[in-house]
């Protein structure tokens, strides 16, 4: 920068390096600010959930109540408890206990100094605003925990998710290996059919499947939520196959020459090299199962002991519509584990979506 330039204030129209850097930062900050605003709006319901979950059940319906979790402020005077109101006296708002209520005049006591002479205020006390103090009700979570038998729900949800994920990952790995490494008649057409099953709506196979499961006595058990996953699914197979195809064939051939069977090649060569893809499929399937609503609704509605979280909190919602704070607390508790795991493993999640969605 030359000396003459440095003496005058850089203006935006200026092509100088300072102005350019400045302009670039200004643009970047405004874009970032826009993104922050959009994201805040996008996630605002989460803040509302957290806030309501800490409120007393009725707070939302009381007019004049603050938006944050609070309870009416009180103070004690001569052994009795009184509500605190905001009283305008000589142009100053003071928080005072309402001791004697009257239509024309009321008596107030300063909670900070109760021994002072009571203050007589002229006016209708009903026009005064009540004073609130911040008071989060953490007990809401304990209430939901025991009312819903949360530990059992967590156990059920996790058990179903783990078993079905085990089946899905195992079977999908086998099938993906078959499609990735072996030539057999009809392979291409079978792969196309496999992918086409993605658009097959579940409704069209629902009734026969339900009928058969019911005839087998599986209705009201976890089996309908677990067993079908032991037969691979299109998304997982597609993803794993893509990954397996990228592993050099020379590695399996070397193992084969050493006498390894195809199963052994899969176990000792292919799977160890595909850990990222296996992790991704595992995470995806685990939370697909964890979040699933329809099948548990169908098969476990009448079995409170075997229910999973989503169906239990739906029934809880139907039962406690008038208790928004408990509902929001239940929602928060249900999403806690998936959200925490997502933040821990977000790279694996987000990369997988791109792999299945774009690279076909």
């Amino acid at each position: 920068m030359t000396a003459t330039r440095a003496t005058r204030l850089p203006s935006f129209g200026d092509g100088g390096p300072v102005a350019r850097t400045m302009r670039r930062y200004l643009v970047r900050s405004s874009v970032t600010l826009l993104a922050v605003m959009l994201l805040s709006g996008f996630l605002l319901p989460l803040l509302s959930m957290l806030t309501i979950s800490l409120q007393d059940a009725g707070q939302g319906t009381i007019s004049g109540a603050p938006f944050y979790p609070a309870s009416p402020a009180t103070g004690t005077f001569q052994g009795a408890e009184y509500d605190i109101y905001v009283v305008p006296i000589d142009g100053v708002d003071r928080s005072l206990m309402l001791v004697t209520k009257g239509r024309v005049q009321s008596t107030f006591v300063d909670p900070a100094d109760p021994n002072q002479t009571p203050i007589v205020w002229q006016g209708a006390w009903r026009t005064l605003k009540q004073s609130w103090t911040f008071d989060p009700k953490w007990s809401n979570f304990a209430t939901v925990w025991s009312q819903l038998s949360f530990p059992r729900l967590l156990f059920n949800t996790a058990a179903v998710a783990i078993l079905s994920t085990l089946g899905a990952v195992l079977s999908s790995a086998l099938v993906a290996y078959g499609f990735a490494r072996f030539r057999f008649p009809g392979k291409n057409i079978m792969f196309v059919i496999l992918i086409a099953t993605i658009i097959l709506p579940f409704q069209v196979t629902l009734i026969p499947t339900y009928t058969v499961f019911t005839k087998l006595g599986w209705n009201g058990t976890w089996l309908p939520l677990i067993v079908p996953h032991f037969f691979a699914n299109a998304f997982n197979v597609f993803l794993l196959r893509q990954y397996f195809l990228a592993i050099p064939r020379e590695l399996d051939e070397a193992a084969m020459i050493d006498g390894a069977s195809p199963f052994r090649v899969l176990r000792s060569v292919i799977l160890p090299m595909s850990v990222p893809a296996l992790v991704a499929v595992t995470l995806f399937h685990f939370f697909f199962s964890w979040n699933d609503f329809f099948l548990p609704l169908l098969y476990l509605s009448g079995k409170p002991d075997l229910q999973t979280l989503p169906i239990a909190i739906q029934q809880y919602n139907a039962l406690y519509v008038t208790q928004p704070s408990l509902i929001q607390a239940a929602a928060l508790m249900t999403m806690a584990i998936p959200v925490v795991v997502f933040f821990l493993a977000q790279r694996a999640f987000m990369r997988t979506v791109v792999m299945t969605g774009v690279e076909k």
């Binding site: 874009v31 509302s48 079977s171 392979k187 629902l206 026969p208 084969m256 919602n317 998936p338 979506v353």
Partner: protein
């Protein structure tokens, strides 16, 4: 099981007849490995698909399955005049017309924003815009129902602060669709990520060349970004449409399966669910399932036929 002769490729001197030929052995193993899917496909896809087609021509129910009779096309004839089925289709289509474009535009807009080189901390924004899709659908629906509650919800309180009397998002047959669309915005994560990958795959030389020719941002977006992204936008459109026809959980949670207000959330899936599992009209529900299947199939074909003309595939083959 161990295959001792797996080095047969190198020991071609072995008599062919005593063992499988290498290519036959390869086919054998391939079929062994894909067997789980083949069995699953037959038992959980093709079998039930055919069975439900057969059932759709019967009056099958689970209370008296032995009394099943074939009633020809009666279910399909009844469907054409069933106000609930028609309502289900209308509701689903009406919602699709609002929700699908909103999803497409929002996911592309957010993708453009979080992919912009002018944004600080892009990865953090990307992660947070994606995150809500990981929330169990029932929980996120409950969160939104709390947020949209006409009396106690924050949205109407915020609208009230700026002097707007917020509508009854949940109990009003018109406003319930925007409400469900808002809930659906938490599901744009996958579409957004796919769009980002698409945006990144557009060669930057194209933008540079256009800039030299004096093109502005809007014309570059319209003439470069959109055409090059079209295969990805088509994929998103198809998936988003299929998802809309499977719409169930949010509507069920919102009204505990009643389809309120005034059947405005009686999505076709909810109707199917009630016919099958509340009324035990299994044959009729199978027919509704098949109707849905045919509609989704036709829409997919129409979209792909449309795409053949309008979607740009790099490397020729328009």
């Amino acid at each position: 099981m161990r295959l001792r002769s797996s080095n047969a490729m190198t020991t071609t001197t072995l008599p062919i007849r005593s063992r499988m030929s290498p290519s036959r052995r390869e086919a054998f193993w391939g079929l062994v490995f894909i067997a789980p899917w083949v069995i699953g496909f037959l038992v959980f896809a093709i079998g039930p698909l055919i069975a439900s087609l057969v059932l759709s021509f019967t009056d099958f129910n689970l209370v008296r399955p032995e009394a099943m009779r074939f009633i020809g096309a009666n279910n399909y004839i009844q469907m054409a005049g069933d106000p609930l089925v028609i309502q289900g289709l209308v509701v689903t289509a009406r919602f699709a017309l609002i929700a699908v474009p909103t999803t497409m535009i929002a996911s592309l807009g957010i993708a453009l924003l979080v992919n912009s080189p002018r944004l600080f901390a892009r990865n953090i924004f990307r992660t947070f815009f994606y995150m809500p899709i990981q929330i169990p659908l029932v929980a996120s629906t409950l969160v939104w129902l709390g947020f949209l509650n006409p009396e106690t919800g924050w949205l109407n309180k915020i609208l009230g602060m700026v002097g707007i009397a917020g509508p009854d998002w949940i109990n009003n047959a018109t406003w319930v669709y925007p409400a469900l669309t808002l809930i659906g915005l938490w599901g744009i994560g996958n579409f957004m990520l796919i769009n980002i990958a698409g945006l990144q795959s557009v060669p930057s030389e194209l933008y540079e060349a256009a800039r030299i020719d004096g093109a502005g941002p809007w014309s570059m977006f319209r003439r470069i970004t959109i055409p090059l992204m079209s295969p990805i936008l088509l994929y998103n459109l198809v998936i988003s449409m299929i998802t809309t026809f499977q719409y169930f959980t949010q509507a069920y949670v919102m009204t505990n399966g009643r389809g309120d207000p005034n059947n405005a959330t009686l999505f076709i899936n909810l109707d199917l669910f009630r016919e099958a599992f509340v009324n035990d009209h299994m044959g009729y529900a199978s027919a509704i399932g098949w109707l849905l299947f045919v509609i989704v199939l036709m829409l997919t074909i129409v979209l792909f036929a449309f795409a053949r003309k309008r979607v740009y595939y790099a490397g020729g083959e328009a």
